[in-house]
């Protein structure tokens, strides 16, 4: 019994059928509890007023935007090294979810920044790196869409993902060097001193869990969809060949 067993599409689909109801359920529960708790039952911050409630969307989305890319990097590596189709399809499935997370982080950030910093957008390092990450996601998806042969597409996109990761990290530091920011430091870190206060912290953790679970559920579901697309395509191709053979036979 090893993890690689689930590289078999049938096994993977079986696993995801069993796991997905739980994932969807817990994701909905965590998001529901976390967002309602955060929205209705937390106090306003004494400086930021009620805008602090945006944190329950902004921080988890930003976190997931980065984690989604990281997950794509890992499954791309698995595809390059072990050539399991499921992992390549999982990378394809995760990218649009990552885009949505990046978009949420950018939009909520802009809406939050307007009253707090007096501007929708500033060329702050964190904001800028997210915009660059967004561009990387777009390029990655566009490459998937542009190539017809699925294996070629999987190979090219996974190499793009590796190279993109290097350059995304480089850009992160380059941008840091280039401009000083308005954005505060990490809101969540192991260093207790820097953390947000406990009242905000616990609902925030619940929301983070909700976003993680929602991401997993979506990736499982979308990977399943991609596997079925593959299978349908193979069936239709075989059908075409069968029809051709019949014609020749007659």
């Amino acid at each position: 019994m090893s993890l690689w067993e689930y590289a078999n599409p049938v096994k993977f689909l079986g696993l995801s059928e069993r796991v997905m109801p739980w994932l969807w359920g817990f994701a909905a529960a965590c998001l529901g509890v976390g967002l309602i708790w955060g929205f209705f039952f937390t106090p306003d911050d004494f400086r930021q007023g009620s805008t602090v409630k945006i944190i329950y969307l902004h921080v988890p989305a930003a976190f997931m935007a980065i984690q989604a890319w990281f997950m794509m990097l890992v499954v791309s590596l698995i595809w390059i090294i072990r050539r399991h189709h499921v992992s390549a399809l999982a990378a394809k499935a995760a990218a649009p979810v990552g885009v949505v997370m990046t978009l949420i982080a950018l939009v909520t950030g802009a809406i939050w920044g307007q009253p707090m910093w007096g501007t929708w957008w500033a060329w702050d390092p964190r904001l800028t790196s997210f915009l660059i990450l967004f561009l990387f996601y777009l390029g990655y998806i566009a490459l998937w869409e542009a190539i017809e042969d699925p294996d070629t597409a999987a190979d090219l996109t996974s190499i793009l993902c590796l190279v993109g990761t290097v350059f995304a990290v480089l850009s992160r530091y380059a941008v840091n060097f280039w401009n000083q920011g308005l954005h505060q430091g990490a809101s969540l870190s192991l260093d207790k001193e820097e953390n947000v206060a406990d009242v905000f912290y616990i609902p925030l953790l619940v929301c983070m869990a909700g976003f993680v679970l929602l991401f997993l559920a979506l990736v499982f579901y979308r990977t399943g969809t991609e596997i079925r697309v593959r299978r349908t395509r193979a069936l239709i191709a075989r059908e075409g060949r069968g029809a051709a053979a019949q014609v020749e036979g007659a």
């Binding site: 660059i132 561009l135 990387f136 777009l138 390029g139 566009a142 490459l143 542009a146 190539i147 070629t152 190979d155 090219l156 190499i159 793009l160 590796l162 190279v163 993109g164 350059f167 995304a168 480089l170 850009s171 380059a174 941008v175 060097f177 280039w178």
Partner: protein, 218 residues
């Protein structure tokens, strides 16, 4: 290897695409800038390093889709793949030829265009130096992008989308060095970063580009 380099150079020269087009594009971008932001020489002088860098970057991008596409269409790339020269070498040589036909003229033309944009006198040396350090990386990254999209019809637009985000670090450090020098500050730190990125790109990117090209030729 040398033969391939010379062949690419000669082809680029004969077709007139490399030298002429890239330079003309660079010139036009620089000429259009004052029309769009106004003729104030103080403002132009302030944005000159950035504009020159951006213009050079776009001019570099412009000629990239011809880098591999021609050889792909007439089958020369398949021949090169079967030759003893590894594909990593092929792509590195092609990037070098692209740099000589596009990057180098841009580097040499930049100070002339700097005059048009009223660049501060102390900025010229570092501007040329930063472009000379940065454009090889632009060519090599571009070769990677060209290798990624070589099999796609009308892949030019897609290639821009893929390549431009990869240009960000080079652009930031290059333009920062040129800007600092023009404002009389010390440009050493960004220049070192820029040189580091270029060295890293030149060392690693041929392998990524070669792998991509091998996939596309499969």
């Amino acid at each position: 290897m040398r033969a391939l380099f010379l062949r690419d150079l000669v082809l680029a020269l004969r077709a007139g695409g490399g030298f002429g087009l890239g330079l003309a594009f660079f010139l036009i971008v620089v000429v259009l800038v004052p029309f769009s932001v106004g003729p104030s020489s103080e403002l132009l002088g302030r944005i000159a390093p950035g504009v020159l860098w951006l213009g050079a970057l776009l001019a570099c991008l412009l000629s990239l889709d011809r880098l591999l596409a021609v050889d792909w269409e007439d089958g020369a790339l398949d021949l090169l793949a079967t030759s003893p020269l590894p594909l990593e070498g092929v792509i590195a040589v092609k990037a070098a030829a692209h740099w000589v036909t596009t990057g180098l003229p841009l580097v040499l033309a930049a100070p002339v265009l700097g005059v048009l944009l009223n660049l501060a006198p102390q900025g010229y040396g570092v501007l040329v130096l930063s472009l000379a350090l940065g454009t090889p990386a632009l060519s090599m990254i571009g070769a990677f992008g060209a290798a990624l999209t070589v099999g796609i019809k009308r892949g030019g637009l897609l290639m821009s989308l893929l390549v431009l985000p990869l240009y960000v670090p080079t652009l930031i450090f290059g333009a920062e060095a040129a800007r600092r020098a023009a404002e009389g500050q010390d440009p050493a730190t960004p220049l070192l970063f820029l040189a580091g990125i270029t060295a890293g790109v030149l060392a690693c990117m041929p392998f990524a580009a070669g792998a991509v090209l091998r996939v596309n030729l499969r």
